[in-house]
Protein backbone atom coordinates (compact mmCIF):
# COMPACT_ATOMS: atom_id res chain seq x y z
CA UNK A 1 0.00 0.00 0.00
CA UNK A 2 2.99 2.25 0.42
CA UNK A 3 3.31 2.81 -3.27
CA UNK A 4 0.50 4.84 -4.73
CA UNK A 5 -0.74 6.17 -8.00
CA UNK A 6 -2.11 9.66 -8.41
CA UNK A 7 -5.84 9.02 -8.77
CA UNK A 8 -7.96 10.89 -11.31
CA UNK A 9 -10.49 11.67 -8.60
CA UNK A 10 -8.81 13.97 -6.09
CA UNK A 11 -11.16 14.84 -3.26
CA UNK A 12 -10.12 17.78 -1.14
CA UNK A 13 -10.94 21.10 0.44
CA UNK A 14 -10.73 24.66 -0.78
CA UNK A 15 -10.33 27.10 2.10
CA UNK A 16 -11.20 30.74 1.58
CA UNK A 17 -8.88 32.89 3.67
CA UNK A 18 -10.88 35.94 2.64
CA UNK A 19 -14.04 34.89 4.42
CA UNK A 20 -12.74 32.74 7.27
CA UNK A 21 -13.69 34.57 10.47
CA UNK A 22 -11.52 32.41 12.74
CA UNK A 23 -14.42 31.11 14.85
CA UNK A 24 -12.91 27.58 15.21
CA UNK A 25 -16.31 26.01 14.50
CA UNK A 26 -14.71 23.79 11.81
CA UNK A 27 -12.12 22.54 14.30
CA UNK A 28 -14.75 21.90 16.98
CA UNK A 29 -17.17 20.11 14.66
CA UNK A 30 -14.26 18.08 13.26
CA UNK A 31 -13.39 16.98 16.77
CA UNK A 32 -17.03 16.25 17.54
CA UNK A 33 -17.62 14.11 14.45
CA UNK A 34 -14.29 12.31 14.45
CA UNK A 35 -14.36 11.53 18.17
CA UNK A 36 -16.93 8.96 17.10
CA UNK A 37 -15.84 8.42 13.48
CA UNK A 38 -13.33 6.41 11.44
CA UNK A 39 -10.34 7.18 13.69
CA UNK A 40 -12.24 7.33 16.98
CA UNK A 41 -11.53 8.10 19.71
CA UNK A 42 -9.56 11.32 19.44
CA UNK A 43 -8.02 10.95 22.84
CA UNK A 44 -7.65 13.94 25.16
CA UNK A 45 -5.05 13.74 27.91
CA UNK A 46 -5.59 15.64 31.15
CA UNK A 47 -8.69 17.24 29.57
CA UNK A 48 -9.76 19.14 32.66
CA UNK A 49 -6.26 19.74 34.06
CA UNK A 50 -3.80 22.55 33.55
CA UNK A 51 -1.96 20.83 30.68
CA UNK A 52 -4.80 19.60 28.53
CA UNK A 53 -3.67 18.12 25.21
CA UNK A 54 -5.44 16.02 22.67
CA UNK A 55 -5.74 14.87 19.10
CA UNK A 56 -7.34 17.32 16.68
CA UNK A 57 -7.36 17.09 12.89
CA UNK A 58 -7.97 20.75 12.29
CA UNK A 59 -6.33 23.76 13.93
CA UNK A 60 -7.11 27.42 13.29
CA UNK A 61 -4.19 29.84 13.44
CA UNK A 62 -4.30 33.62 13.05
CA UNK A 63 -1.54 35.43 11.22
CA UNK A 64 -0.68 39.02 10.51
CA UNK A 65 0.71 39.70 7.04
CA UNK A 66 2.19 42.96 5.84
CA UNK A 67 2.72 46.22 7.66
CA UNK A 68 0.59 49.24 8.42
CA UNK A 69 -2.43 49.93 6.27
CA UNK A 70 -1.46 47.28 3.76
CA UNK A 71 -1.32 44.69 6.56
CA UNK A 72 -4.00 42.05 7.08
CA UNK A 73 -5.07 39.74 9.85
CA UNK A 74 -5.76 36.36 8.30
CA UNK A 75 -7.39 33.40 10.01
CA UNK A 76 -5.81 30.23 8.80
CA UNK A 77 -7.37 26.78 9.26
CA UNK A 78 -4.80 23.99 8.89
CA UNK A 79 -5.48 20.30 8.31
CA UNK A 80 -4.26 17.43 6.12
CA UNK A 81 -3.93 18.52 2.49
CA UNK A 82 -4.22 14.96 1.06
CA UNK A 83 -1.12 15.57 -1.07
CA UNK A 84 -0.52 14.03 -4.49
CA UNK A 85 3.06 13.27 -3.35
CA UNK A 86 2.38 12.23 0.25
CA UNK A 87 5.76 11.39 1.76
CA UNK A 88 3.94 10.51 4.99
CA UNK A 89 2.81 7.49 2.97
CA UNK A 90 6.14 6.54 1.37
CA UNK A 91 8.15 6.74 4.63
CA UNK A 92 5.70 4.46 6.46
CA UNK A 93 7.59 1.20 7.15
CA UNK A 94 4.45 -0.92 7.59
CA UNK A 95 2.10 0.32 4.88
CA UNK A 96 -0.38 1.48 7.54
CA UNK A 97 -0.33 4.92 5.96
CA UNK A 98 -1.90 4.87 2.50
CA UNK A 99 -3.42 6.98 -0.23
CA UNK A 100 -6.67 5.65 -1.62
CA UNK A 101 -6.58 4.90 -5.34
CA UNK A 102 -10.26 5.70 -5.80
CA UNK A 103 -10.35 9.26 -4.44
CA UNK A 104 -6.89 10.21 -3.19
CA UNK A 105 -7.82 10.38 0.50
CA UNK A 106 -4.78 9.71 2.75
CA UNK A 107 -5.64 7.43 5.66
CA UNK A 108 -3.96 5.46 8.44
CA UNK A 109 -4.86 1.86 9.20
CA UNK A 110 -4.94 1.80 13.01
CA UNK A 111 -4.56 -2.00 13.06
CA UNK A 112 -1.14 -2.03 11.39
CA UNK A 113 0.33 1.32 12.52
CA UNK A 114 3.28 0.69 14.85
CA UNK A 115 3.33 4.27 16.16
CA UNK A 116 6.88 5.10 14.98
CA UNK A 117 5.80 8.71 14.23
CA UNK A 118 8.03 8.92 11.14
CA UNK A 119 5.03 9.98 9.00
CA UNK A 120 4.50 13.00 11.25
CA UNK A 121 8.13 13.98 10.67
CA UNK A 122 7.68 13.59 6.92
CA UNK A 123 4.62 15.88 6.83
CA UNK A 124 5.72 19.51 6.37
CA UNK A 125 2.29 20.76 7.39
CA UNK A 126 2.09 19.24 10.88
CA UNK A 127 -1.15 17.59 9.88
CA UNK A 128 -0.67 14.29 11.69
CA UNK A 129 -1.21 13.94 15.41
CA UNK A 130 -0.15 10.93 17.44
CA UNK A 131 -2.64 9.41 19.86
CA UNK A 132 -0.48 8.62 22.89
CA UNK A 133 -3.26 6.66 24.50
CA UNK A 134 -3.83 4.35 21.54
CA UNK A 135 -0.22 4.31 20.34
CA UNK A 136 -1.12 5.02 16.71
CA UNK A 137 -0.96 8.01 14.37
CA UNK A 138 -4.17 9.82 13.50
CA UNK A 139 -5.08 12.35 10.87
CA UNK A 140 -7.89 14.01 8.91
CA UNK A 141 -9.94 11.39 7.06
CA UNK A 142 -11.73 13.99 4.93
CA UNK A 143 -14.72 12.56 6.84
CA UNK A 144 -14.60 9.42 4.70
CA UNK A 145 -17.36 8.10 6.96
CA UNK A 146 -19.66 11.06 6.08
CA UNK A 147 -19.03 11.81 2.44
CA UNK A 148 -20.09 8.34 1.25
CA UNK A 149 -22.60 7.76 4.04
CA UNK A 150 -25.98 6.89 2.56
CA UNK A 151 -27.68 6.91 5.95
CA UNK A 152 -27.42 10.67 6.31
CA UNK A 153 -29.23 13.23 4.11
CA UNK A 154 -27.39 14.01 0.90
CA UNK A 155 -26.61 17.69 1.68
CA UNK A 156 -24.79 16.51 4.82
CA UNK A 157 -22.43 14.22 2.87
CA UNK A 158 -19.57 16.67 3.13
CA UNK A 159 -16.76 16.84 5.72
CA UNK A 160 -17.92 18.04 9.14
CA UNK A 161 -15.75 21.16 8.92
CA UNK A 162 -17.40 22.16 5.64
CA UNK A 163 -20.96 21.55 6.84
CA UNK A 164 -20.49 23.65 9.95
CA UNK A 165 -18.62 26.68 8.59
CA UNK A 166 -20.88 29.71 9.21
CA UNK A 167 -18.90 31.89 6.81
CA UNK A 168 -19.01 29.38 3.94
CA UNK A 169 -15.23 29.61 3.85
CA UNK A 170 -14.74 25.86 3.28
CA UNK A 171 -15.59 24.04 0.08
CA UNK A 172 -15.41 20.33 -0.66
CA UNK A 173 -15.19 18.62 -4.00
CA UNK A 174 -13.17 16.84 -6.68
CA UNK A 175 -10.09 18.87 -7.51
CA UNK A 176 -9.12 16.33 -10.16
CA UNK A 177 -12.11 17.41 -12.27
CA UNK A 178 -11.34 20.79 -13.88
CA UNK A 179 -15.08 21.49 -14.28
CA UNK A 180 -16.04 20.88 -10.65
CA UNK A 181 -17.29 23.82 -8.58
CA UNK A 182 -14.16 23.73 -6.40
CA UNK A 183 -11.79 23.64 -9.39
CA UNK A 184 -13.59 26.61 -10.95
CA UNK A 185 -13.40 28.46 -7.63
CA UNK A 186 -9.65 27.81 -7.46
CA UNK A 187 -9.16 29.02 -11.03
CA UNK A 188 -11.29 32.11 -10.48
CA UNK A 189 -9.75 33.18 -7.19
CA UNK A 190 -6.13 32.14 -7.74
CA UNK A 191 -6.13 29.29 -5.24
CA UNK A 192 -2.64 28.18 -4.26
CA UNK A 193 -0.58 25.40 -2.63
CA UNK A 194 1.10 25.66 0.77
CA UNK A 195 4.91 25.27 0.69
CA UNK A 196 5.01 24.41 -3.03
CA UNK A 197 8.83 24.43 -2.80
CA UNK A 198 8.82 21.06 -1.02
CA UNK A 199 7.04 19.34 -3.91
CA UNK A 200 4.31 17.50 -1.98
CA UNK A 201 1.67 18.81 -4.43
CA UNK A 202 -1.17 19.25 -1.93
CA UNK A 203 -4.71 18.65 -3.22
CA UNK A 204 -6.29 21.14 -0.80
CA UNK A 205 -6.06 24.72 -2.01
CA UNK A 206 -6.17 28.04 -0.21
CA UNK A 207 -7.90 31.11 -1.66
CA UNK A 208 -5.99 34.32 -0.91
CA UNK A 209 -7.62 37.25 0.88
CA UNK A 210 -9.12 39.66 -1.68
CA UNK A 211 -7.27 42.95 -2.01
CA UNK A 212 -8.38 45.35 0.71
CA UNK A 213 -10.39 48.50 0.10
CA UNK A 214 -8.27 51.58 -0.55
CA UNK A 215 -7.20 53.19 2.68
CA UNK A 216 -9.54 55.96 3.87
CA UNK A 217 -8.12 59.48 3.62
CA UNK A 218 -6.07 60.54 6.60
CA UNK A 219 -8.22 62.49 9.09
CA UNK A 220 -6.99 66.03 9.74
CA UNK A 221 -5.38 66.38 13.14
CA UNK A 222 -7.34 67.83 16.06
CA UNK A 223 -7.49 71.64 15.87
CA UNK A 224 -4.74 73.03 18.03
CA UNK A 225 -5.88 74.63 21.26
CA UNK A 226 -2.49 75.96 22.27
CA UNK A 227 -2.31 79.71 22.44
CA UNK A 228 -6.02 80.21 23.14
CA UNK A 229 -6.56 83.25 25.28
CA UNK A 230 -9.30 84.50 27.53
CA UNK A 231 -12.01 82.25 28.98
CA UNK A 232 -11.53 79.42 26.47
CA UNK A 233 -7.82 79.47 27.19
CA UNK A 234 -8.54 79.20 30.90
CA UNK A 235 -10.95 76.25 30.29
CA UNK A 236 -8.35 74.57 28.10
CA UNK A 237 -5.68 74.97 30.75
CA UNK A 238 -7.99 73.68 33.50
CA UNK A 239 -9.11 70.66 31.47
CA UNK A 240 -5.56 69.91 30.40
CA UNK A 241 -4.30 69.51 33.96
Amino acid sequence: MTSYTTPTKRLGLVIDLDTCVGCHACAVNCKEWNAGGHSAPLTDLDPYGPNATGVWFNRVHSFEAGEGRAGRTVNFPRSCLHCDEPECVTVCPTGASYKRAEDGIVLVNPDTCIGCKLCSWACPYGAREYDEDEGVMKKCTLCVDRIYNETIPEPDRVPACVSTCPAHARHFGDLGDPDSAVSRLVAERGGYDLMPELGYRPVNKYLPPRPGKPAPPVQPAEPATEGLSGFLGWVDRMLSR
Binding site: R72, P93, W121, Y125
Partner: protein, 316 residues
Protein backbone atom coordinates in the same frame (compact mmCIF):
# COMPACT_ATOMS: atom_id res chain seq x y z
CA UNK B 1 12.99 18.08 16.87
CA UNK B 2 12.44 16.33 20.18
CA UNK B 3 15.62 14.40 21.03
CA UNK B 4 14.08 11.08 22.08
CA UNK B 5 16.64 9.19 24.24
CA UNK B 6 15.70 5.83 22.72
CA UNK B 7 16.49 7.02 19.20
CA UNK B 8 19.75 8.71 20.25
CA UNK B 9 20.93 5.59 22.07
CA UNK B 10 19.82 3.45 19.12
CA UNK B 11 21.67 5.42 16.45
CA UNK B 12 24.87 5.81 18.50
CA UNK B 13 24.98 2.23 19.82
CA UNK B 14 24.10 0.61 16.51
CA UNK B 15 26.44 2.97 14.63
CA UNK B 16 29.36 2.09 16.91
CA UNK B 17 28.40 -1.59 16.83
CA UNK B 18 28.29 -1.68 13.01
CA UNK B 19 31.56 0.26 12.88
CA UNK B 20 33.22 -2.30 15.15
CA UNK B 21 31.61 -5.18 13.28
CA UNK B 22 32.78 -3.88 9.90
CA UNK B 23 36.32 -3.33 11.24
CA UNK B 24 36.62 -6.83 12.72
CA UNK B 25 34.99 -8.40 9.66
CA UNK B 26 37.43 -6.69 7.28
CA UNK B 27 40.41 -7.58 9.48
CA UNK B 28 39.24 -11.19 9.54
CA UNK B 29 38.57 -11.18 5.80
CA UNK B 30 42.11 -10.07 5.01
CA UNK B 31 43.71 -12.28 7.63
CA UNK B 32 44.88 -9.37 9.78
CA UNK B 33 43.30 -11.01 12.83
CA UNK B 34 43.24 -14.75 13.28
CA UNK B 35 40.36 -16.81 14.69
CA UNK B 36 40.54 -16.92 18.46
CA UNK B 37 38.10 -17.73 21.23
CA UNK B 38 38.54 -14.66 23.41
CA UNK B 39 38.92 -12.05 20.65
CA UNK B 40 35.84 -13.55 19.00
CA UNK B 41 33.79 -13.57 22.19
CA UNK B 42 34.75 -10.04 23.27
CA UNK B 43 35.04 -8.34 19.85
CA UNK B 44 32.09 -9.82 17.97
CA UNK B 45 30.15 -10.11 21.24
CA UNK B 46 30.56 -6.37 21.87
CA UNK B 47 29.68 -5.47 18.27
CA UNK B 48 26.57 -7.65 18.06
CA UNK B 49 25.62 -6.66 21.63
CA UNK B 50 25.72 -2.95 20.82
CA UNK B 51 23.79 -3.49 17.58
CA UNK B 52 21.14 -5.62 19.28
CA UNK B 53 20.80 -3.26 22.24
CA UNK B 54 20.44 -0.35 19.82
CA UNK B 55 17.80 -2.10 17.71
CA UNK B 56 15.83 -3.08 20.81
CA UNK B 57 16.12 0.49 22.11
CA UNK B 58 14.66 1.77 18.84
CA UNK B 59 11.49 -0.21 19.48
CA UNK B 60 11.01 1.52 22.85
CA UNK B 61 9.58 4.65 21.27
CA UNK B 62 7.02 2.72 19.23
CA UNK B 63 3.36 2.93 20.16
CA UNK B 64 3.00 -0.76 19.32
CA UNK B 65 6.38 -2.56 19.66
CA UNK B 66 4.61 -5.92 19.26
CA UNK B 67 3.85 -4.95 15.65
CA UNK B 68 7.49 -4.05 14.87
CA UNK B 69 7.76 -7.05 12.52
CA UNK B 70 5.45 -5.24 10.10
CA UNK B 71 8.19 -2.67 9.51
CA UNK B 72 10.06 -5.09 7.21
CA UNK B 73 7.34 -4.94 4.57
CA UNK B 74 7.72 -1.55 2.86
CA UNK B 75 11.37 -1.68 1.77
CA UNK B 76 10.41 -0.52 -1.70
CA UNK B 77 9.73 3.04 -0.49
CA UNK B 78 10.65 3.46 3.18
CA UNK B 79 14.23 3.93 4.40
CA UNK B 80 13.09 2.88 7.88
CA UNK B 81 11.89 -0.39 6.43
CA UNK B 82 15.11 -0.79 4.41
CA UNK B 83 17.11 -0.23 7.59
CA UNK B 84 15.19 -3.01 9.31
CA UNK B 85 15.72 -5.38 6.38
CA UNK B 86 19.44 -4.50 6.14
CA UNK B 87 19.90 -4.97 9.89
CA UNK B 88 18.30 -8.41 9.89
CA UNK B 89 20.10 -9.44 6.69
CA UNK B 90 23.44 -8.44 8.22
CA UNK B 91 22.84 -10.74 11.19
CA UNK B 92 23.17 -13.77 8.92
CA UNK B 93 26.78 -13.39 7.70
CA UNK B 94 27.76 -11.57 10.91
CA UNK B 95 26.42 -14.30 13.18
CA UNK B 96 28.04 -17.01 11.07
CA UNK B 97 31.34 -15.12 10.94
CA UNK B 98 31.32 -14.54 14.71
CA UNK B 99 30.52 -18.21 15.36
CA UNK B 100 33.19 -19.59 13.02
CA UNK B 101 35.81 -17.01 14.04
CA UNK B 102 35.27 -17.73 17.74
CA UNK B 103 34.87 -21.48 17.90
CA UNK B 104 36.25 -22.88 14.63
CA UNK B 105 38.85 -21.93 12.10
CA UNK B 106 37.01 -22.19 8.79
CA UNK B 107 39.98 -21.13 6.67
CA UNK B 108 40.87 -17.96 4.78
CA UNK B 109 38.37 -18.31 1.95
CA UNK B 110 35.29 -18.65 4.14
CA UNK B 111 36.46 -15.83 6.42
CA UNK B 112 37.05 -13.58 3.42
CA UNK B 113 33.58 -14.18 1.95
CA UNK B 114 31.74 -13.83 5.27
CA UNK B 115 33.91 -10.87 6.34
CA UNK B 116 33.22 -8.90 3.16
CA UNK B 117 29.49 -9.70 3.30
CA UNK B 118 29.34 -8.66 6.96
CA UNK B 119 31.20 -5.39 6.37
CA UNK B 120 28.99 -4.57 3.38
CA UNK B 121 25.86 -5.26 5.44
CA UNK B 122 27.10 -3.12 8.33
CA UNK B 123 27.88 -0.16 6.07
CA UNK B 124 24.55 -0.56 4.23
CA UNK B 125 22.61 -0.56 7.50
CA UNK B 126 24.26 2.64 8.77
CA UNK B 127 23.64 4.18 5.33
CA UNK B 128 19.93 3.30 5.60
CA UNK B 129 19.77 4.81 9.11
CA UNK B 130 21.23 8.05 7.77
CA UNK B 131 18.87 8.03 4.77
CA UNK B 132 15.84 7.95 7.10
CA UNK B 133 16.85 11.45 8.18
CA UNK B 134 18.37 12.55 4.87
CA UNK B 135 15.06 11.96 3.07
CA UNK B 136 12.85 14.12 5.32
CA UNK B 137 12.25 17.29 3.31
CA UNK B 138 10.50 19.25 6.09
CA UNK B 139 13.72 19.17 8.17
CA UNK B 140 16.40 21.23 6.45
CA UNK B 141 19.05 20.32 9.06
CA UNK B 142 18.68 16.66 8.03
CA UNK B 143 17.70 16.86 4.37
CA UNK B 144 21.14 17.84 3.11
CA UNK B 145 24.26 16.14 1.78
CA UNK B 146 26.08 16.20 5.16
CA UNK B 147 23.74 13.78 6.93
CA UNK B 148 24.96 10.55 5.32
CA UNK B 149 28.70 11.38 5.66
CA UNK B 150 28.02 12.39 9.28
CA UNK B 151 26.44 9.07 10.20
CA UNK B 152 29.06 7.02 8.32
CA UNK B 153 32.01 8.99 9.74
CA UNK B 154 30.78 8.78 13.33
CA UNK B 155 30.02 5.07 12.99
CA UNK B 156 33.54 4.54 11.61
CA UNK B 157 35.17 6.71 14.29
CA UNK B 158 33.37 5.12 17.25
CA UNK B 159 33.67 1.62 15.76
CA UNK B 160 37.41 1.95 15.09
CA UNK B 161 37.99 3.44 18.57
CA UNK B 162 36.19 0.42 20.06
CA UNK B 163 38.15 -1.96 17.81
CA UNK B 164 41.40 -0.33 18.89
CA UNK B 165 40.44 -0.71 22.56
CA UNK B 166 39.56 -4.39 22.11
CA UNK B 167 42.61 -5.27 20.00
CA UNK B 168 44.87 -3.23 22.32
CA UNK B 169 43.58 -5.11 25.34
CA UNK B 170 44.45 -8.41 23.63
CA UNK B 171 47.84 -7.05 22.59
CA UNK B 172 46.95 -7.93 19.00
CA UNK B 173 49.36 -6.81 16.29
CA UNK B 174 46.46 -5.28 14.34
CA UNK B 175 45.99 -2.68 17.09
CA UNK B 176 48.59 -0.31 15.63
CA UNK B 177 47.10 0.10 12.13
CA UNK B 178 43.57 0.15 13.61
CA UNK B 179 44.64 2.93 16.00
CA UNK B 180 45.95 5.00 13.11
CA UNK B 181 42.72 4.32 11.18
CA UNK B 182 40.75 5.45 14.25
CA UNK B 183 42.65 8.75 14.32
CA UNK B 184 41.94 9.26 10.60
CA UNK B 185 38.25 8.44 11.11
CA UNK B 186 38.01 10.82 14.09
CA UNK B 187 39.60 13.57 12.00
CA UNK B 188 37.16 12.84 9.19
CA UNK B 189 34.23 12.99 11.64
CA UNK B 190 35.51 16.33 12.92
CA UNK B 191 35.76 17.71 9.38
CA UNK B 192 32.28 16.48 8.42
CA UNK B 193 30.61 17.88 11.54
CA UNK B 194 32.43 21.19 11.20
CA UNK B 195 31.35 21.46 7.56
CA UNK B 196 27.80 20.47 8.53
CA UNK B 197 27.57 23.18 11.19
CA UNK B 198 29.05 25.74 8.80
CA UNK B 199 26.47 24.67 6.19
CA UNK B 200 23.62 25.23 8.69
CA UNK B 201 24.93 28.72 9.43
CA UNK B 202 25.14 29.71 5.78
CA UNK B 203 22.37 27.89 3.91
CA UNK B 204 18.84 28.52 5.21
CA UNK B 205 15.92 26.17 4.61
CA UNK B 206 13.67 27.01 1.67
CA UNK B 207 10.46 27.33 3.68
CA UNK B 208 9.35 30.43 5.58
CA UNK B 209 6.11 31.57 7.27
CA UNK B 210 5.38 33.30 3.95
CA UNK B 211 5.55 30.07 1.90
CA UNK B 212 3.87 28.03 4.65
CA UNK B 213 0.79 30.28 4.63
CA UNK B 214 1.05 31.61 1.08
CA UNK B 215 0.50 35.07 2.55
CA UNK B 216 3.91 36.38 1.47
CA UNK B 217 2.06 38.17 -1.37
CA UNK B 218 0.72 40.56 1.28
CA UNK B 219 3.94 41.04 3.16
CA UNK B 220 5.96 39.64 6.03
CA UNK B 221 3.99 37.02 7.96
CA UNK B 222 3.94 36.64 11.74
CA UNK B 223 1.82 34.55 14.07
CA UNK B 224 -0.86 36.58 15.84
CA UNK B 225 -2.71 33.82 17.71
CA UNK B 226 -1.79 30.14 17.97
CA UNK B 227 -4.71 27.72 17.64
CA UNK B 228 -4.49 26.67 21.29
CA UNK B 229 -2.92 27.98 24.45
CA UNK B 230 -1.29 24.70 25.50
CA UNK B 231 0.94 22.20 23.77
CA UNK B 232 -0.06 19.57 21.25
CA UNK B 233 1.71 16.61 19.65
CA UNK B 234 3.19 18.77 16.90
CA UNK B 235 4.63 21.43 19.23
CA UNK B 236 6.01 18.78 21.59
CA UNK B 237 7.49 16.56 18.86
CA UNK B 238 8.72 19.19 16.37
CA UNK B 239 8.97 22.25 18.59
CA UNK B 240 12.00 21.36 20.71
CA UNK B 241 14.15 24.46 21.09
CA UNK B 242 17.69 24.66 22.35
CA UNK B 243 19.29 27.91 23.45
CA UNK B 244 21.93 28.98 20.94
CA UNK B 245 24.63 29.40 23.57
CA UNK B 246 24.03 25.86 24.86
CA UNK B 247 24.21 24.51 21.32
CA UNK B 248 27.54 26.28 20.87
CA UNK B 249 28.96 24.83 24.08
CA UNK B 250 27.65 21.35 23.34
CA UNK B 251 29.29 21.46 19.90
CA UNK B 252 32.60 22.28 21.61
CA UNK B 253 32.03 19.46 24.13
CA UNK B 254 31.23 17.02 21.30
CA UNK B 255 34.36 17.99 19.35
CA UNK B 256 36.80 18.17 22.28
CA UNK B 257 35.36 15.26 24.28
CA UNK B 258 34.33 13.03 21.40
CA UNK B 259 37.04 13.66 18.82
CA UNK B 260 40.13 15.53 20.05
CA UNK B 261 40.54 13.73 23.39
CA UNK B 262 39.85 10.22 22.00
CA UNK B 263 42.41 10.86 19.27
CA UNK B 264 44.91 12.03 21.91
CA UNK B 265 44.30 8.91 24.01
CA UNK B 266 44.79 6.69 20.95
CA UNK B 267 48.14 8.42 20.40
CA UNK B 268 49.04 7.87 24.08
CA UNK B 269 48.04 4.21 23.79
CA UNK B 270 50.13 3.75 20.64
CA UNK B 271 53.15 5.26 22.40
CA UNK B 272 52.92 3.28 25.65
CA UNK B 273 53.18 -0.30 26.80
CA UNK B 274 50.72 -2.36 28.82
CA UNK B 275 48.83 -1.72 31.06
CA UNK B 276 48.73 1.97 30.07
CA UNK B 277 48.21 0.91 26.42
CA UNK B 278 44.92 -0.85 27.21
CA UNK B 279 43.74 1.79 29.66
CA UNK B 280 44.30 4.69 27.23
CA UNK B 281 42.59 2.70 24.45
CA UNK B 282 39.56 2.03 26.65
CA UNK B 283 39.34 5.71 27.67
CA UNK B 284 39.49 6.74 24.00
CA UNK B 285 36.60 4.41 23.11
CA UNK B 286 34.40 5.55 26.02
CA UNK B 287 35.05 9.22 25.22
CA UNK B 288 34.30 8.72 21.52
CA UNK B 289 30.98 7.06 22.39
CA UNK B 290 30.07 9.80 24.90
CA UNK B 291 30.95 12.50 22.35
CA UNK B 292 28.82 10.75 19.72
CA UNK B 293 25.87 10.79 22.13
CA UNK B 294 26.25 14.58 22.55
CA UNK B 295 26.58 15.01 18.78
CA UNK B 296 23.49 12.91 18.10
CA UNK B 297 21.49 14.79 20.76
CA UNK B 298 22.42 18.04 19.00
CA UNK B 299 21.53 16.53 15.61
CA UNK B 300 17.95 16.23 16.88
CA UNK B 301 17.75 19.25 19.18
CA UNK B 302 19.07 21.70 16.59
CA UNK B 303 16.86 20.44 13.75
CA UNK B 304 13.84 22.58 12.96
CA UNK B 305 10.68 21.29 11.31
CA UNK B 306 8.56 23.30 8.86
CA UNK B 307 5.40 22.56 10.90
CA UNK B 308 6.68 25.03 13.50
CA UNK B 309 6.39 27.80 10.90
CA UNK B 310 2.68 27.66 11.75
CA UNK B 311 3.52 28.17 15.42
CA UNK B 312 5.67 31.29 15.22
CA UNK B 313 9.01 29.96 13.96
CA UNK B 314 10.59 32.28 11.39
CA UNK B 315 12.86 29.69 9.73
CA UNK B 316 12.80 25.95 9.39
Amino acid sequence: MHPAPSVIVFTVASGAGYGLLATLALLAAFGAILPSLWLGLVGFGLALGLITAGLLSSTLHLGHPERAWRAFSQWRSSWLSREGVAAVATYLPAGLLALLFTFFDPGRGTLAVLGLLTAAGAIATVFCTAMIYRSLKPIHAWCNHWTVPGYLALAAATGLALAFAVLGAFGDAAAGPVGIAAIVALAAAWWVKRSYWAFLEVVPGASTPETATGLGRIGKVRLLDPPHTGENFVTKEMGFRIARKHAGRLRVIAVIGGIVLPAAFVVIALATAQPLHSLAGAIAAVLALAGALVERWLFFAEAKHTAMLYYGATRA
